[in-house]
């Protein structure tokens, strides 16, 4: 029965102070809109960066004379090198079928298989790929006499690592800043609307209202304003997604990247964030006025 009273109180105060409530609602709407666009973008960026980093590896080519026993020995040796995550073996026959599938005409001209057995050496972490390469070519020689060459893509690898690092860090920093700005912006708007009602709070205290008795209507009001703002943002995002993104997704892979957040999850996240930040913001902003 208390809840009914608090709900009526918060609806009454929203009606009376429509302008500040609307300002708070608009603030939540805009921040949630930005957040809703930003979350998938950051995820897509990170996903792209990670998949690029995942492709960083060292290729080890065997001599064409290598036997199956040689391959097994080299495989064992490779696995003992520090920081090696896994080793993939591609036999010369497999390599030939893969290559000829790409360019059948060229390979039809060949009578024999010119391709060597190959190991793809994947590092445990992309950053360690250069260390592995150094370990495979000690002093300019080869780890094993049956190894023909070790791929040398130092420059490319370095660049990839640097760029993807930068992208990930930038995205993280932007996310933190955006979340911080959202919280401050919403809290500030709420504080403004509370400031106009500080006398009311003072009177309530003098009549003998407990802190929580005063606080609940404000918290509920914050929750309502936050949820409505978030819902409106979700509606806008949903319309945009259906009208713009979905038709494009079929021929633009970044948007279709599977690692971005599902829309249903995004809805829940935005709704929870909007309601929670506004409710907690109202409750906390009220603290200073409660000290009578």
């Amino acid at each position: 029965m208390r809840f009914g009273f608090f709900l009526r109180e918060s609806i009454r105060s929203m009606r009376r102070s429509a302008a500040p409530s609307f300002a708070a609602l608009a603030t939540v709407l805009v921040t949630m809109l930005v957040l809703g666009v930003f979350i998938p973008i950051v995820q897509a960026t990170n996903g792209a960066a990670n998949s690029v980093r995942g492709r960083v590896m060292v290729d080890v080519y065997m001599r064409t004379s290598a036997t199956a026993a040689d391959d097994a020995r080299v495989r064992g040796e490779l696995l003992r090198v520090p920081h090696v995550g896994s080793v993939q073996f591609v036999s010369k026959t497999t390599a030939l079928t893969q290559q000829s599938a790409q360019d059948p005409q060229a390979f039809q001209l060949l009578s024999s298989n010119p391709l060597p057995d190959t190991f793809h050496v994947l590092p445990d972490k992309p950053g360690n790929v250069l260390a592995i390469q150094r370990a495979l070519t000690p002093g300019g020689g080869m780890l094993d006499p049956m190894i023909q060459t070790v791929s040398d893509r130092q420059q490319d690898t370095k660049k990839i690592l640097e760029v993807t690092n930068l992208v990930t860090i930038t995205a993280a920093v932007l996310t933190v800043l955006l979340v911080l700005a959202s919280i401050l912006l919403i809290a500030n708007t709420i504080r403004l609307s509370l400031y106009s009602r500080r006398r009311e709070v003072e009177v309530m205290k003098l009549v003998g209202a407990t802190d929580w008795f005063i606080r609940w209507p404000f918290v509920i009001e914050g929750m309502i304003v936050g949820s409505v703002g978030a819902l409106m943002a979700i509606a806008v995002l949903g319309a945009t997604k259906i009208a713009l993104l979905d038709p494009l997704a079929s021929n633009w892979t970044l948007i279709a990247a599977p690692r971005t957040i599902a829309f249903s999850v995004l809805v829940v996240v935005l709704l929870a964030a909007g309601a929670l930040v506004s409710a907690v913001g109202s409750g906390l902003s009220l603290r200073r006025f409660l000290r009578v």
Binding site: F5, R12, S13, R16, R199, E200, E202, V203, M204, K205, L206, V207, G208, A209, T210, D211, F213, V292
Partner: protein, 248 residues
């Protein structure tokens, strides 16, 4: 009912609010607190509703040591003290009825209780026709009546009024004083801070005078007509200011 023992209050800026004040007020008393601005009247009031803490000394109200009431319990203590202010302090967004009802809602009053008590108290204060008006549609005297109704709707044993007639004309002031006297006659202890010397003299009630934070006078003004009716009381207040017989 109220007991101040060696109470001092120094504000953080170094100003002295009260300086070693000792007095007591019996249950059912009607007491005036007079003194110039800055003499400490409001400090006494604010100490009594525990808006301020004394620097030294103890204050007891109805047997409770105010210093021992925890922060969380202050709200519950305040429900036993009705407060009336010079500037009314009504909630502007609520009607007369809702302003008074709020004091009951705060204490967990049921709807039925509110429906019974609020019209009663508004009849007592003569506001029955203004139930659905908002405070800004009322005159100053009417607003003060609402504020008194709100302070008294819980029937607190103690009613504090800080300059209740400070913003009102003399005729309206008499009405307000009469209302406070009527409340006093129900057994409620009433403490009024005022600088309206003429009014206080006419009332012929106990007067505590403060100056620079000290009690400089504590006496009944004139003869003590404790049991006069409110009508007699009002007639006497409206009479032209004359020193009561028997006083030089």
């Amino acid at each position: 009912m109220i007991e101040f023992r060696g109470v001092s209050k120094r504000y953080s800026g170094g100003d002295v609010g009260l300086d070693d004040v000792t007095f007591s007020v019996e249950r059912g008393d009607f007491v005036f607190l007079v003194g110039a601005t800055g003499s400490g009247k409001s400090t006494v009031m604010r100490l009594l509703i525990k808006e301020l803490e004394p620097t030294a000394g103890t204050i007891r109200v109805a047997g409770h040591d105010l210093g021992e009431i925890k922060r969380k319990r202050i709200a519950y203590y305040r429900r036993n003290v009705g407060v009336v202010f010079q500037d009314f302090k009504l909630l502007p967004a609520r009607t007369v009825y809702d302003n008074v009802a709020y004091a009951l809602q705060v204490t967990g009053g049921t709807r039925r209780e509110i429906r019974e008590k609020v019209p009663d108290i508004l009849r007592l204060t003569g506001l029955s026709t203004k139930l659905h008006n908002y405070p800004d549609q009322l005159s100053g005297g009417e607003q003060q009546r609402v504020s008194i109704a709100r302070a008294f709707v819980n029937h607190p044993p103690l009613l504090l009024a800080d300059e209740p007639t400070g913003n009102l004309d003399p005729e309206t002031s008499v009405d307000i004083m009469r209302l406070l006297y009527r409340i006093n006659r129900t057994g409620t202890t009433v403490l009024i801070a005022s600088h309206d010397q003429a009014m206080v003299d006419k009332m012929r009630r106990r007067v505590l005078e403060l100056a620079h934070g000290r009690v400089v006078r504590d006496e009944a003004t004139g003869f003590y007509a404790r049991d006069e009716t409110t009508r007699e009381f009002a007639r006497r207040l409206r009479a032209p200011s004359s020193r009561p017989p028997g006083l030089a």
